[in-house]
């Protein structure tokens, strides 16, 4: 039975829903389930014991450190870029906006490669760096740089469209009433964009903690020193230490799930405060 001329029959409708659910189940639910099931394969004690490994612990510490550096840097950049692009008119604006998205169209491996070409032992600045006895590639600074590169656009691209939509009239009113530029930003602009800002931070953080390809190229895989959690997953997996590999992976999967929940919550509850494409 069909209820209108523009709807499919009941059978076709349920068949399509079944196909969609089966496809998403096969490609999304099953891999996620596999992570937790493999991590707990030898019981909960073995799962917990995986985190006693000092190398694993230091990889968790490094991942937190990297995110704590990369996210604030890209946050400041995102706010500055959005302020100048959304509140002012200048030639070349759309070019600047598309250049900001550039890191998304570059392969993660190439994102790492560009820094090796710059700072590696045979790179452009490599020899002078080694004169100064300062290492970037195969050291923590390289891992930070690669992470900053791949997470570069996340916050800016949430703020720019929203602030463009909001225009400048509220800020102009505050300025006319005598508020300083900084105060106008803090009391007028920031409250207007806070949910979009949080949304961008959420996505930026998820990628910063989970990046693999770019980081793998520059890190050198030095245990306890330059291994982030995703790299530790790789090392444990290649050593056939599957329970430990999936245990670390389960933390990252948990982070991904939390990110999705937070993101959906923001879209549902504060959709009006997000850029138009994020509104349900």
């Amino acid at each position: 039975m069909r209820d209108s001329a523009t709807a499919e029959g009941t059978l076709a409708r349920w068949a399509l829903i079944a196909i969609a659910v089966a496809f998403l189940g096969l490609f999304l639910a099953l891999p996620l389930l596999a992570v937790f099931s493999e991590a707990l394969r030898k019981g909960f004690d073995a799962y917990l014991a995986s985190f006693n490994d000092p190398d694993t612990q230091s990889s968790i510490g490094l991942t937190l450190l990297i995110a704590a550096i990369a996210v604030p840097l890209n946050l400041v950049f995102g706010v500055c870029a959005a302020w100048s692009i959304a509140k002012f008119d200048f030639p070349g604006k759309s070019l600047l906006t598309s250049l900001i998205d550039l890191p998304f169209s570059v392969s993660p491996v190439v994102s790492g490669l560009v820094y090796v070409l710059l700072f590696g032992a045979k790179g452009l600045l490599g020899p002078s760096l080694s004169d100064w006895d300062f290492k970037i590639i195969f050291a923590v600074p390289g891992v930070v740089l690669a992470t900053v590169f791949v997470t570069f656009p996340f916050i800016a691209r949430e703020l720019i469209p929203l602030m463009q939509e909001q225009g400048t009239s509220e800020e102009e009113a505050a300025l006319t009433l005598g508020a300083s530029g900084w105060r106008t930003f803090l009391t007028v602009t920031l409250p207007n964009v806070r949910w979009a800002l949080l949304y961008g931070v959420l996505l930026c953080n998820a990628r910063a903690m989970g990046e693999f390809g770019a980081v793998s190229v520059v890190s050198g895989h030095i245990r306890g020193l330059t291994n982030t959690m995703p790299l530790q997953v790789e090392i444990l997996y290649n050593e056939y230490n599957f329970v430990a590999a999936f245990a670390v992976a389960s933390l990252l999967a948990g982070l991904a799930l939390l990110t999705l929940v937070g993101k959906s919550f923001l879209e549902w509850r504060y959709g009006d405060g997000l850029s138009a494409v994020r509104r349900p």
Partner: protein, 289 residues
């Protein structure tokens, strides 16, 4: 999330803003531009300079060695197939999410973004465990003599996973805004549901669909983390181009790595450009859908 829809830019001129009462242009613009240059533009320029230092002949020599050619072929063919599969199923998922109301729809909608949120290494080992001969899915195919993990089929599976959200997320908003009255008009004029879909709805969706396919394809070509665990990485069989870049770097062959990276960038930009053109054409034909 990382759906980057390219926009057209004007060539650079000096950034002088039109007179405005707003403060802080100098410092915010200055910081943004400096940071963008240091983190993104200069490093990418170094890659381009390095590759152009090899000259066209040098790049060609690296790109046409049999192993590199084989890896490029594996990368581009599996990426194209994965993007096509995602086009079909992504359309169905987008359709079901926008047109039907059923319990669990919102969870399904949120879950579509999982491949963006899940670290690629985690996806990689999970897929490898599932599709290995003793895995939940691999074991089902084992009696038939079909191996999925450690073959190009495994690469294809991983690329379907990471490309999954693109078509859904580009088609969904267009479908949401699509005027149902047009479908009603088509039905009133005697079209069957199938005719209405193929001749009225699909043409209006095609620019978004093509964008989604192009983005999924471009992402798949560069993908590394989710692929290497399930690929087996056998030269000439299941070795992808990004892995070859890593291999060259490990040998400190910066020139070789830059050459492969340049070829990959050039081919995927060409693909994006071609699809953008196609999209512009279909838009013009439809009178800006």
């Amino acid at each position: 999330m990382s759906v980057a829809v390219p926009s057209r830019g004007l060539p650079w001129t000096l950034a002088i803003p039109k007179p405005s009462a707003m403060p802080g242009f100098g410092i915010t613009f200055g910081f943004a531009l400096t940071y963008l240059s240091l983190i993104v533009l200069i490093p990418l320029a170094v890659l381009v300079a390095r590759a152009s230092g090899l000259g066209f002949d040098g790049i060609w020599r690296v790109a046409t060695t049999p192993r590199v050619l084989a890896a490029l072929e594996v990368s581009f063919v599996t990426s194209a197939l994965a993007a096509l599969v995602n086009a079909v199923f992504g359309m169905i998922v987008a359709w079901v999410l926008t047109r039907y109301r059923f319990p669990g729809r919102q969870v399904l909608d949120a879950a579509v973004d999982l491949p963006f949120a899940l670290p690629t290494a985690v996806a990689g080992i999970a897929l490898a465990a599932l599709y290995a001969p003793n895995g939940w899915i691999g074991a089902l195919f084992q009696p038939w003599g079909i191996r999925i993990a450690y073959t190009p089929l495994g690469i294809f599976i991983a690329l379907v996973f990471i490309g999954l959200p693109f078509v859904v997320r580009t088609v969904q908003p267009v479908l949401q805004d699509f005027d149902r009255e047009i479908e009603e008009a088509s039905a009133t004029l005697g079209a069957t549901r199938r005719q209405t879909f193929l001749r009225v709805v699909l043409p209006a969706l095609s620019p978004a669909l093509l964008t989604g396919i192009a983005l999924a394809f471009a992402r798949a070509v560069g993908e590394y983390g989710s692929v290497i665990f399930i690929a087996g990485n056998m030269p000439f069989k299941s070795e992808i181009a990004p892995l070859l870049i890593v291999a060259k770097l490990e040998e400190y062959d910066y020139a070789g790595a830059s050459a492969i990276a340049t070829v990959m960038l050039a081919i995927s930009f060409a693909a994006l450009l071609a699809i953008n053109l196609l999209q512009a054409l279909s838009r013009r034909r439809l009178g800006d859908a």
